[in-house]
Amino acid sequence: MRYVKPESFEAAATLLRDETGISRILAGGTDVLVQLKAEMVEPDLMVDLKHLPGMREIVAEDGGFRIGAAVSGAELGEHDAVKAMWPGVVEGVELIGSSQVQSRATMAGNLCTGSPAGDAVPAMVTAEAVARVHGPDGVRDVPVVDIPTGPGKNSLSKGEFITSIYLPARPAHAGDAYLRFIPRTEMDIAVSSAAVSLALDEDGTVTSARVAVGAVAPTVRLVKDAGAALVGSKLDDAAIAAMVHAVEAACSPITDKRGTIEFRTKTAGVLAKRAALIAYGRAGGQL
């Protein structure tokens, strides 16, 4: 295996494009080094980009924040302004692994690794986060929701990689939240999960809502009907029931050792409901 720290993003893109064997980006290594150890993947080329400009920085931009692709969970969690603006995104990232894993794991790695249960992904989707992708043909911005394409797969083409993730400005009277179900309190993979992001008008009526679920389909899923069910309501029981129904209808999970199809579907609805109530409170709504 060759280990390379390229001098620029352009050099990295060329290197990755021209590699004929298996290549991987080394961010925090908390997925890729586990796979290496287990011999699940034996890369010929490991590209480390953490030293390149902006990769470890969090910068305010147009009312939102640009998070470098190598910013660790711990660094993000220590950034009070990001946490205040997108508490749901930060709580998703902070759920990943242990203190040790938090020192290294990145949200870009969580996204690119393509786990349906990735804890950073649902709230990035509901925040309408956008990944900045560098590659042999230049730079493009891709909505986070379009990056994962299936378990272990993503939509980046050969030579492409993420250099930052942009969290847009949050509107006034808005809030988000993320919850997952695991059988223990720490260090486990979500059986199901849900993120909700809401914006309200002055009197607490929902003006826009997005709901995303994890671990209940091959990729994290944005459930448009579920968000639509909340718009125009103050989260009354009927609106919540319609939202839960839409979430359940969008679930197509598998049964495995962590949970059955029925259990995953049911808990995804429950979590979406609870996350919606938390997001509503954070947005300043009174129930």
Binding site: G29, L33, V34, S99, R104, M187
Partner: protein, 158 residues
């Protein structure tokens, strides 16, 4: 396979070593540098027995490549005592018998020290969450949490 030269600082000493690109920092510490305090419980980030500090952050050395540590500052359990004087955490772990086989102990001490530097007066819940990535198969966690709290109280009084 070719080896690569790497220059780091380990427990304050400038250290150079050669390693393969796919070799973990844990393997470098144990097999190349003779620093066998960090243990391998799993090799996959689950147990925390290999915990060390890298550039001021607590990491699993099994999930860091040796080649990634070029220019980094590494602190291991071997650097925790000052000469013959144990760190308060080390001493209290012995006094309170917060260990049995001791395999998890170096990792727990390194992790607990990192916590107390950030948060000198944690609640029991905070200690438990912080140490959730450090598994112990014999002592039981109560004694470990109590020992961390006792050492923390001593360190606050000092």
């Amino acid at each position: 396979m070719k080896t690569i030269p790497v220059a780091t600082t380990i427990n304050g000493d400038e250290t150079e070593f050669l390693c393969h690109t796919d070799e973990s920092l844990l393997d470098v510490l144990r097999d190349r540098l003779g620093l066998t305090g960090a243990k391998e419980g799993c090799g996959t980030g689950d147990c925390g027995a290999c915990s060390v500090m890298m550039n001021g952050r607590l990491v699993c050395s099994c999930l860091v490549l040796g080649v990634e540590t070029e220019g980094a500052e590494i602190e291991t359990i071997e650097g925790m005592a000052k000469g013959d004087t144990l760190h308060p955490l080390q001493r209290v772990f012995l006094e309170e018998a917060a260990l049995q086989c001791g395999i998890c102990t170096p990792g727990i001490l390194v992790a607990a020290k990192a916590l107390l530097e950030k948060n000198p007066d944690p609640t029991d819940t905070e200690v438990r969450y912080w140490l959730a990535g450090n598994l112990c198969r014999c002592t039981g966690y109560d004694k470990i949490i109590k020992a961390v709290q006792k050492a923390a109280a001593e360190m606050r009084a000092a």
